[in-house]
């Protein structure tokens, strides 16, 4: 096996058998799954006992407009002689609803008394039913035949379909919701990957330097091979971890879904979506829109670019992290050099999230071209279709930049890794860059 291959293998093997790697790999999908499953589970769980509400209706008309259901029980009560607040009703019931006048004339003649703050749900339940009742009554009062039919037919929900045109003018249905979700996910993953594994590269280099093993290895491998072996080995660890995360998250959330609800999570999500929709026709359209939206996104392209920016961004920053690691004598000294490297990453992350709202704006444009931010920001723009020249420019700038940062980092690395006991400054590092040998 080639030497760089041996180094990659060692970096990979020693990391994937570490306890922290195994724990992280298996615990994180559990967390992801929990984040997905628990809110769903909570939202489907019913309130155990129904709340009873006393209805004091001075008109004797509107109380019938409030049907009881599993959550709320409405009981008609006589108006107490004393003040409602001091009456026996207030202690016996969850809330007291007072209808003090004809709602046809005075729409604000409804008051809800309670000792605890009532839920918005209850308030809107009452308001909805009463307004529907009044609306109905008013319609009947117009004496126009078939009025309800007319109104129903006149109600037309507008559904905007977004159509993207390809260069031949052919229509492709898109969904900006789907695009936004994919963009945010890809961006977040790249950001996480650069940070976590870039820092691991740095720590690895510092370890080799402080325990002087580098002096032994350097006699059989050149510094560039040593640095690249570490960077590539750790990249593979990262890819392995993400792959396992994706796989395990899917498996765990489905298993959990089946265990808890007797159906898989995807099914559950669909039914949850359905139940919130009053109009089944609209649900159907939304689902159809999602499916068409997914079809409208060029996944081969997105995945290809994702892998490219994933690696490009990581290589760019990992080599800088390696250079920092080589320049210092111990990990605590890394702080002062870390900042200039981490600032562009964090900036790119924020820029990416502002760009989500306007993927073609100037911030998004420039940040997706500049190589230090492009791996993170370009992923936001890709699902929204980016002109070819911009893609090519961004990709080639990133390639040029990571080649040159790797080259520069290798120069600093070569000098720094064998230098001890010197307080390193930026000036010193600049000097190393200019060493011809």
């Amino acid at each position: 096996m080639s030497k760089i291959g041996l180094i990659i293998q060692r970096e990979y093997k020693t990391r994937v058998v570490k306890r922290s790697f195994i724990i992280m790999t298996f615990l994180s999908p559990l967390l992801f799954a929990a984040i997905m499953v628990i809110p769903l589970w909570l939202s489907t769980a019913k309130d155990t006992e129904a709340k009873t509400i006393a209805v004091v209706d001075r008109t004797d008309e509107y109380a019938q407009a409030l049907p009881s259901n599993g959550s709320y029980q409405f009981e008609i009560a006589k108006e107490p002689n004393q003040d409602i607040g001091k009456s026996k009703l207030s202690s016996d019931y969850y809330a007291i609803l007072l209808i003090s006048g004809d709602l046809m004339k005075d729409s604000s003649a409804v008051t809800l008394y309670s000792q605890k703050q009532v839920s918005i749900d209850l308030k809107s339940y009452i308001a909805d039913h009463l307004s529907k009742y009044v609306e109905n009554k008013k319609l009947v009062a117009t004496h126009i035949p078939n009025i309800r039919q007319i109104i129903k037919e006149s109600q037309t929900p507008i559904n905007v379909t977004t159509i993207k045109l390809d260069q031949h003018g052919n229509a492709i249905v898109t969904s900006s919701d789907v695009a936004t979700f994919i963009a945010a996910l890809a961006t977040f993953l790249i950001y996480l990957f650069i940070f976590m594994y870039g820092a691991q590269v740095m720590r690895g280099v510092v370890e080799e330097k402080t325990n002087r093993i580098v002096e032994i290895i350097i006699s059989s491998v050149n510094p560039f091979e040593m640095m690249m072996g570490k960077i590539i080995g750790i990249a593979l660890v990262g890819l392995t971890q993400f792959l396992l995360w994706v796989l395990l998250t899917v498996i765990i959330s489905n298993v959990a879904g089946i265990a808890m609800f007797g159906s898989s999570i995807t099914h559950l999500q669909q039914s949850a979506q359905m139940s919130t929709m009053q109009d089944h026709n609209a649900t159907h359209q939304v689902v159809l829109g999602l499916i068409q939206g997914l079809q409208g996104i060029n996944f081969v392209e997105i995945i290809g670019f994702f892998l490219f920016y994933f690696m490009g961004g990581y290589l760019l920053y990992a080599s800088l992290f390696a250079a920092i690691g080589s320049a210092v004598d111990n990990e605590t000294d890394t702080q002062q050099f870390m900042l200039p490297v981490t600032i562009p990453i964090i900036f790119a992350f924020y820029a990416a999230f502002y760009s989500l709202q306007n993927p073609d704006g100037p911030l998004a444009f420039w940040c997706s071209i500049i190589p230090f931010t492009s791996p993170i920001v370009m992923m936001v723009r890709l699902p929204f279709d980016v002109p070819l020249w911009q893609k090519l420019l961004s990709v080639s700038l990133l390639i040029i930049t990571f080649l040159s940062t790797t080259w520069l980092a290798a120069k600093i690395y070569r000098t720094g890794i064998l230098m001890y006991g010197k307080k390193i400054t930026w000036k010193e590092m600049w000097k190393w860059l200019r060493y011809s040998n």
Partner: protein
């Protein structure tokens, strides 16, 4: 032709001169000692030979040809500050480093087993490095240095951290490696080991070579012409004083101990002059140890450079 030739190597660091025109030549199949006080420049010279740093001036020749970067394969280097991957298992680690040095896995395994057997370390194979003591780690590192059987071995302070038993084992192994054909350079403060092991030495002090040559010749060169004599009975001045001067005289249990300095005479002449009168119990020349020579030279004040 010598095996390794170092010619006028100079190395300047930003604020001090680490090596000032250092030259030395090392014969094939010898053990060469690099001596000097702390900070004299020994490690810098070793790092230059290992091509970890480059000299500012001067050249290095291996078998008459300028040292090239591939020649590093022919060198085994044990750095002064030793380090291994702490969390890695001993066996895995030595195998990895052996493979990096170009041995096949099978070959490396076979050689390492042999070394582990010889140094009685079989049980360490599956231990993590951090579980070993410092001396044990050093033994592991020694094996790492020699396992690819390089022609030139460079040990920087090989005995520091070893107990006397293990230091002896290391000395034995160094001699064995030399006999098997290797050329060895080692730096040390341990002068006893220099007398035992080295054929030739170079003493570097304040970046300069101050003493160089064959160990025995150096010791001869630093002879003080002082002898210790033990006689039976008491000493009376019946011997002509032209041969020697008495520095010291003590009488213990009917024996006389003399410490004398010869005056333009050989040991044989001194003995010949004594024999007719006394029974000699012992006669021994006081040859300075390398330790004395080292301390003498290093303690000398810096010569004032005339402008």
């Amino acid at each position: 032709m010598s095996f390794l030739e170092i010619q006028h190597v100079t190395k300047q660091y930003s604020n001090h001169l680490a090596l000032d025109s250092v030259s030395l030549s090392i014969e094939r199949n010898s053990i060469y000692g690099l001596l000097g006080p702390n900070g004299a420049g020994k490690t810098t010279l070793i790092r230059i030979i290992n091509q970890i740093t480059a000299p500012d001036e001067g050249a290095i020749f291996l078998e008459g040809k300028p040292l090239r970067s591939n020649d590093i394969r022919r060198i085994g280097y044990l750095p002064e500050e030793r380090g291994l991957y702490k969390k890695m298992k001993v066996g895995e680690q030595v195998l990895y480093l052996a493979q990096l040095k170009g041995l096949s896995k099978a070959e490396a395994t076979q050689r390492l087993k042999k070394w582990f057997d010889r140094l009685d370390m079989q049980s360490w194979w599956d231990k993590k490095v951090e579980e070993l003591s410092k001396g044990m780690q050093q033994k592991v590192q020694f094996i790492i240095t020699v396992m690819h059987e390089p022609e030139l071995l460079i040990f920087d302070e090989p005995f520091s951290g070893f107990d006397p038993v293990n230091a002896d084992i290391m000395k034995r192994e160094m001699v064995r490696l030399r006999d098997a054909g290797a050329t060895i350079i080692f730096s040390t403060h341990n002068m006893e080991s220099v007398e035992e092991l080295c054929d030739t030495i170079t003493l570097i002090n304040r970046s300069k070579v101050v003493l160089q040559g064959n160990v025995n010749q150096i010791r001869q060169q630093f002879r003080t012409h002082i002898y210790r004599i033990v006689l039976e009975g008491t000493f009376e001045n019946i011997v002509p004083a032209e041969y020697f001067r008495i520095l010291d005289q003590t009488i213990i249990n009917q024996h006389t101990s003399l410490r004398i300095e010869t005056i333009n005479s050989t040991a044989n002449e001194v003995i010949a002059s004594l024999l007719p009168h006394y029974t000699l119990l012992s006669f021994e020349e006081e040859i300075p140890s390398m330790n004395d020579i080292f301390i003498n030279i290093v303690k000398e004040p810096i010569p004032v450079i005339e402008s």
